[in-house]
């Protein structure tokens, strides 16, 4: 038990919590009845994935991915050791996730617009009531 805790949990504690956050989001997407609640759960699910990606680029003791002025001048002058890659966080996951966040809010807007259209047509945002009304609609025809 203790070795499991030391080898599996402690070095990956943040990944464990990301999985928990992801499970909260997934559970709410399946089990919640209100459509807005489902969308909030979906956003939480999304942030768990973004967190996983960004934390893959973290380096212990590293700074932000903006090159210092002096180091930049030295590297232009030809000093290859001026920029230490281990002291700068990995910028690639940041780039990927930065665009994903903005695309995420735009698609959240589309989903909320669909919610408003559903409310206009059925008068409710509860999933079971919407399903009942759709069924009644089919029975009429």
């Amino acid at each position: 038990m203790e070795t499991f805790f030391k080898e599996a949990v402690v070095p990956h504690f943040n990944f464990w919590i990301y999985v928990i956050i992801m499970m909260i989001g997934l559970w709410s997407v399946i089990a919640k009845n209100n459509l807005i609640k489902k969308l909030i759960g979906l956003s939480i699910f999304q942030t768990a994935i973004l967190l996983l990606y960004v934390s893959l680029g973290v380096k212990e003791g590293a700074t932000i991915p903006i090159i210092d002025h002096h180091a930049a001048e030295l590297s232009l002058a030809g000093d290859a050791a001026a920029i230490n890659p281990d002291a700068i966080a990995n910028p690639v996951p940041h780039v990927l996730m930065l665009t994903a966040i903005v695309v995420g809010v735009a698609t959240l807007g589309v989903a909320l617009a669909l919610c408003q259209v559903i409310y206009k047509d059925f008068g409710t945002l509860e999933e079971d009531e919407v399903l009942q009304k759709i069924k009644a609609l089919h029975d009429d025809v």
Partner: protein, 81 residues
């Protein structure tokens, strides 16, 4: 990267996620979701991803909360679960 800071924010993150999914008032859920966005922003600033933190501060805590509130005010505020 500071491990103690990391753990504190992650615990608050889980609490905020559970609260925002369990309150029945959707307006309160939207507000707690804004708090969740700010906590994520703090976590990213702490991980060294300043650009991502900046984006999350404007998008997650500002615009997406406003969009959810705009939808709630045009539909219904109470939810059954």
């Amino acid at each position: 990267m500071i491990v103690a800071f990391d753990i504190i924010i992650l615990v608050f993150l889980v609490i905020a996620a559970i609260i925002s999914l369990s309150v029945k008032d959707l307006l309160a859920a939207a507000m707690v979701f804004g708090i969740y966005g700010f906590l994520i922003c703090l976590l990213w600033a702490e991980m060294g991803a300043v650009d991502v933190a900046f984006t999350e501060a404007t998008v997650g805590a500002g615009v997406s909360t406003v969009l959810i509130v705009a939808t709630i005010l045009n539909t219904r505020r109470k939810s059954t679960d």
